[in-house]
């Protein structure tokens, strides 16, 4: 199986610093043109390919991973964790745990009264998660801000920094998703 090039599928330049608006408008134009519902006879496969390309390029972590894959082929991921991330992880972990504890007790309760008894704790858990998300967000943003530098280093064949950042970004994205899912569950409390 040849490697798909998401940038090429959407007719975009192979760049890390794509504008989200450009990704959207390329996807929209291609979808109008090639969607089987509007152009009878086109394959559903093509629409799926366009959707997959957009999904990959829209997320910074996926875009960086895909870009590296195109440049390097299969590569050994960098699994080191920055000390800054280690510290963050410890506090995220405890926020997630207390959220989980409220959520699970809330799910087990079947009456408005027992649920109401958990309200205070739920509000506090929500605040704690939001605080963690702010921390995640700022670290994530600083990595995204470094994309032009990563691209420049890549031009001279140096992908080490990009690989290291990909690893960090993967952790941050995962934690962000975990926090988001807890936050959504806490909405129900």
């Amino acid at each position: 199986m040849g490697m798909t090039n998401c940038f090429a599928i959407l007719g975009l330049s192979e760049s890390l610093t794509l504008d989200p608006g450009d990704i959207e408008s390329s996807w929209q134009a291609a979808t109008r043109e090639e969607h089987p519902d509007s152009s009878p006879g086109t394959e559903e496969n093509r629409a799926a390919e366009l959707n997959q390309a957009r999904a990959t390029l829209s997320l910074p972590v996926e875009r960086l991973g895909h870009w590296l894959q195109l440049k390097l082929g299969e590569f050994e991921p960098n699994r080191s964790i920055d000390p800054e991330l280690m510290d963050l992880f410890a506090s995220i972990h405890s926020a997630l745990e207390s959220a989980d504890s409220v959520i699970s007790r809330h799910q087990k309760s079947t009456t408005a009264l027992t649920k109401a008894l958990l309200a205070k704790e739920a509000v506090n858990a929500q605040l704690a998660i939001q605080e963690q998300m702010a921390g995640i967000h700022s670290l994530k943003q600083s990595i995204i801000d470094s994309f032009p530098d990563l691209e420049k280093a890549g031009e001279s064949g140096d992908f080490e920094e990009a690989k290291r950042n990909l690893g960090q970004l993967k952790f941050l994205t995962k934690w962000e998703q975990q926090c988001q899912s807890r936050l959504l569950s806490l909405l129900e409390c």
């Binding site: 519902d37 009264l113 936050l183």
Partner: protein, 600 residues
């Protein structure tokens, strides 16, 4: 593309409609009586014939146990997903099939599947269309709640195909409503949310409309939340207030009809008198209800839509959608003023009432049908999958392969390899849902990935999971050595139409069903009591001083009754359930005080 006509069908929990595009405009087709709505009700008469629609509604009082309404709640679901309440609150008997699906039984020797009941309704709509259009119809777009799972979609498709309708698209209801809303606004650019609260299901979808492209950004919902739940809440309260115990099927059916009537009347009037003449033998009942009282009963059910909306809003925001320009209401239950007021209060947006609550979805289905047969141009709809798709991995966890709210068609691949030498195949459990543990999600079925014999790690099979535009899954395997693709069968029980040879096993299990049911109700009631009693104590200690003395007394009295029934050797499940309910109601203000205190 075929120019042959395609009809659009809204297969609703309470009512169904059929429409078509005529000279560029969607219209709803009326039956020979001039009616556009067909009640989604089927009666399997004791004399053997089958009645559908309004005729079945007329027969409901005569043959409540043989009349099937709201069957959409059961289609494509496994029996063990049902709550006791869902099983109990139906007038007809709901049973497990030997393979874990659901059957509706009329006595010992006659049962039908939810798919078969839905087929009757679809067949009726097909005939309505054929009579109105004066020619045969064989292709359809059928709508389903956006939050329907793969199995529920497949079952709906199977129901249509069984009556000779080729399903050209399974379309999500809120998306259909958005098409109806946006057809005359193709030049506008807007972000809209569709709040669709029907008879049995709730969905909220957020779409971006731009130059004829309708793109769904996110969707969330609950396939067990709708007008039926409001009726049930009101009926339970009426029963409690009138002090009637041990309802027969016919009585509970009448009570629910009265509750629904009160709900509908109180959408415009301030008071409504429920009259139940000769309800039990010569006993007649009368009860006056105010809009305020009924709204208090409905509020907890309507509140459940709030966090679902917040979910969809949050995900749309994550995907970069702008603020909502219009929030469109559809579905019969959005006629209730409390729904409209709650939405305004929660989201500070005035709901858009431009769409006909009962007809918008069918009009949208007709429009999509028009797109697919070339009668509507310049419009394109792109939807998302409502639930994450994944597989069970080591340790019983769910590994997401296609996340929820991915644009469909979507596909994603995984590579599998043999864990031991000469392994012939590997069984993979395919799941849908948002929970971390595999067992908490829907099991769509199992697939077998075949391996070419060889040493450990030598076989490599790529498996592609594809969700098509109907939201239905297909799994393909590709042998990387040969490059050959083939479709893997997904073994699933809940969609199976039942095999007559296993009927006998079913009737054997019926004999125990009643005992089981009673035990199940007692256990659930007992657990609820054990949860409530300590909670009452803690809550009174925390905020009891803010309550008037007589209210505290009322709560203590209700709690004492629960305690007495719980400790009694009689194990009266119905009485305990009723006592729990009374205590639940008595503590409403107390619960509200606690929530208020939490935000201080």
């Amino acid at each position: 593309m075929n120019e042959e006509l395609i009809i659009g069908i809204d297969l609703g929990t309470t009512n169904s409609l059929v429409g078509v595009v005529d000279s560029g405009f969607p219209i709803i087709l009326a039956d020979s009586d001039g009616e556009r709505l067909t009640p989604s009700v089927v009666t399997y008469r004791s004399e053997g014939s089958i009645a559908t629609g309004r005729e079945a509604v007329r027969l409901q009082q005569l043959e409540p146990e043989r009349t099937v309404s709201s069957v959409k709640r059961f289609i494509g679901r496994p029996y063990d997903h049902l709550s006791t309440e869902e099983i109990e609150s139906s007038d007809y008997t709901v049973q497990p099939t030997p393979s874990g699906g659901i059957n509706i039984a009329f006595g010992e020797d006659h049962s039908v599947s939810p798919i078969e009941v839905s087929s009757e309704i679809l067949n009726h709509l097909k005939q309505v269309a054929e009579t109105a259009l004066e020619h045969e119809v064989s292709r359809a777009v059928v709508t389903v709640p956006a939050y329907f799972s793969n199995s529920q979609r497949e079952a709906t498709k199977a129901a249509a195909e069984a009556v000779g309708l080729t399903v050209e698209r399974i379309l999500n209801e809120p998306t259909a409503a958005a098409l109806a809303y946006g057809l005359d606004k193709l030049d506008d650019e807007q972000t809209v949310a569709v709040y669709d609260l029907g008879g049995g299901t709730f969905d909220l979808s957020i779409l971006q409309m731009k130059e004829g492209l309708f793109e769904v950004i996110s969707t969330a919902g609950d396939t067990r939340l709708g007008g039926d739940d409001l009726d049930l809440a009101i009926a339970t309260a009426i029963q409690g207030r009138l002090g009637i115990e041990n309802l027969s099927t016919a009585e509970s059916s009448r009570l629910r009809a009265a509750a629904r009537e009160a709900k509908e009347a109180l959408s415009s009037a301030d008071t409504h008198t429920i009259r139940l003449p000769f309800f039990r033998d010569t006993e007649s009942y009368e009860l006056e209800l105010t809009q305020e009282e009924v709204e208090a009963l409905m509020q907890p059910v309507i509140d459940r839509t709030r966090s679902i909306c917040q979910r969809a809003f949050a995900e749309a925001k994550n995907k970069g959608a702008g603020s909502i320009d219009h929030l469109i209401l559809v579905g019969g239950s959005t006629r209730i003023p409390l729904v409209r007021r709650s939405i305004e209060e929660w989201f500070e947006i005035t709901p858009n009432l431009s769409q006909h609550p009962d007809e918008a979805v069918a009009l949208g289905a007709a429009i999509q049908a028009g797109i697919l047969c070339g009668r509507v141009r310049e419009v394109l709809l792109v939807d998302v999958t409502p639930l994450s798709l994944g597989i069970e991995t080591f340790g019983g966890l769910m590994n997401v392969i296609i996340p929820r709210n991915s644009t469909i068609p979507a596909r994603a691949g995984e590579l599998f390899t043999n864990a031991v030498a000469n392994q012939e195949s590997m069984a993979i459990r395919v799941l849908q849902g948002e929970r971390e543990m595999a067992r908490d999600n829907w099991l769509l079925g199992e697939i077998d990935v075949p391996f070419t014999p060889g040493p450990k790690g030598s076989a490599r099979v790529g498996v592609q999971f594809a969700i098509d535009q109907n939201g239905i899954l297909e799994v393909l395997s590709r042998n990387t050595a040969t490059g050959e693709d083939h479709v893997l069968e997904i073994r699933n029980s809940a969609v199976d139409v039942d095999d007559a040879s296993v009927e006998r096993m079913v009737s054997e299990s019926i004999d125990h069903a009643f005992d089981d049911m009673n035990e199940r109700i007692w256990t659930e009631a007992r657990m609820k009591s054990e949860e409530l009693l300590p909670a009452v104590d803690s809550a009174l200690e925390l905020v009891g001083d803010k309550l008037p003395d007589d209210e505290v007394d009322r709560i203590r009295e209700a709690a004492a009754k629960v305690k007495a029934l719980l400790e009694s050797d009689l194990k009266d499940a119905a009485a305990l359930k009723q006592a729990n309910h009374t205590l639940d109601e008595a503590t409403q203000t107390l619960a509200a005080l606690l929530v208020e205190a939490a935000f201080e």
